[in-house]
Subunit: 228 residues, 2 copies
């Protein structure tokens, strides 16, 4: 990934990509912020894709730089589909999804021999209906819900129906960043605990016995960001 950034003619990046990462670009690389957040008006998805195709057709080596894993609730699949339809060759560099990075940063192992041998991932602010959330909770040992902050109360209420009030749960806010915060509680009380602690988005919810198995870890797992 470093080499691709160093060699790129253009880097189309999201607003949340860090300055450290952008510093890996070459001296002649032109940067374009196509982020959906940030100070100015956001760039529509269709425009970003059209820009990539335009630059690629002009013979430029274009890097589309996204945070996390764009193939897990990141629209990477849509961008790739449209690029392929436009006959653009693409190299995909897998990223680290918040689905796995956020629990890891809190010392929570998603699987653990004798505790959990399967995991499911979905998004809180997407199109997954409560019925699907119930099914996932019932079938996977560990459940990870991304973008869980906005609907945390509704999500946990739905999950309590299937898993009961006492299932261990954790919410990781701003995972891996200096402002990372972790709240652990039971499924029945975590929404209230998160509210009380004042945790903001982005937040990842993890539900399952792995959270209890990791409960002792939180104090001794030093946040990567605070380590330096």
């Amino acid at each position: 990934a470093r080499e691709l950034l160093a060699d790129a003619d253009f880097v189309l990046h999201d607003a949340l990509v860090s300055a450290e990462t952008l510093a890996l670009c070459g001296p002649d690389t032109r940067l374009e912020n196509v982020g959906k957040r940030g100070g100015r008006a956001s760039v529509p998805q269709s425009e970003t894709t059209a820009r990539m195709i335009e630059l690629a057709r002009l013979g430029h080596f274009v890097v589309r730089l996204k945070g996390g894993d764009p193939f897990v609730f990141g629209r990477g699949g849509e961008e790739l589909r449209d690029l392929v339809a436009a006959s653009v060759d693409v190299v995909v560099v897998p990223g680290v999804s918040a689905a796995m990075a956020a629990p890891a940063a809190a010392g929570i192992s998603l699987t653990m021999r004798g505790v959990a041998s399967s995991l499911a991932v979905t998004a809180g602010e997407g199109d997954a209906p409560p019925a699907r959330l119930r099914q996932l909770a019932a079938s996977a040992d560990t459940l990870v819900v991304l973008m869980a902050h906005g609907k945390l109360k509704a999500i946990t209420a739905t999950l309590v129906d299937v898993l009961g009030h006492d299932r261990p749960a954790a919410v990781i806010s701003s995972a891996t960043l200096p402002e990372q915060e972790v709240v652990t509680a039971t499924l029945g009380s975590i929404a209230e605990e998160v509210r009380r602690a004042g945790l903001g988005p982005p937040a990842t919810l993890v539900v399952g016995e792995v959270v209890a198995a990791a409960a002792a870890n939180h104090r001794q797992v030093v946040a990567l960001a605070s380590f330096g």
Copy 2:
């Protein structure tokens, strides 16, 4: 992660960690191969953990370097639990799990608006019973089975019970490596197609409509390894 390797007194690494990665270690870093594969006899897990604790107690800065994401079927949770029990402070650097990297390297997006909004991950050669596999298949839009090579015929036969013969499926072998190969077929025929193509382990199975959505991608998604 680069800085941690550069600063480490000791790096205890798996056999499969690449020479390029090990080259990131500092000039005074001592390397110890504690891999479970490789030419010589494998090092038992308990010995690796004991060695980490011993070195940490002597005041050394120790990096445990594993491939993929050790918190997803990688025993990272067990190592962390034992280190915490021994009062060792730990920094966790999240990795890229094959569960997400293998599909990405084949151009398969695990979620896609309108196609899939949930995914489940389990392992083929673990302790997940067929009943659990059926539940996961029924509840998640996309199912990823790691270490699927050895039991591919049995796994796909179990999944056909729930999803039918025609559900799109892909097997990615040696993902992201120069020898990466991808076979796509229906769930009912993929085991035979993989056998016919002679694909070896490690292999990741992906089942779901996202595979069909990505079918056109395989030719145009240039493997990262072959790109350079």
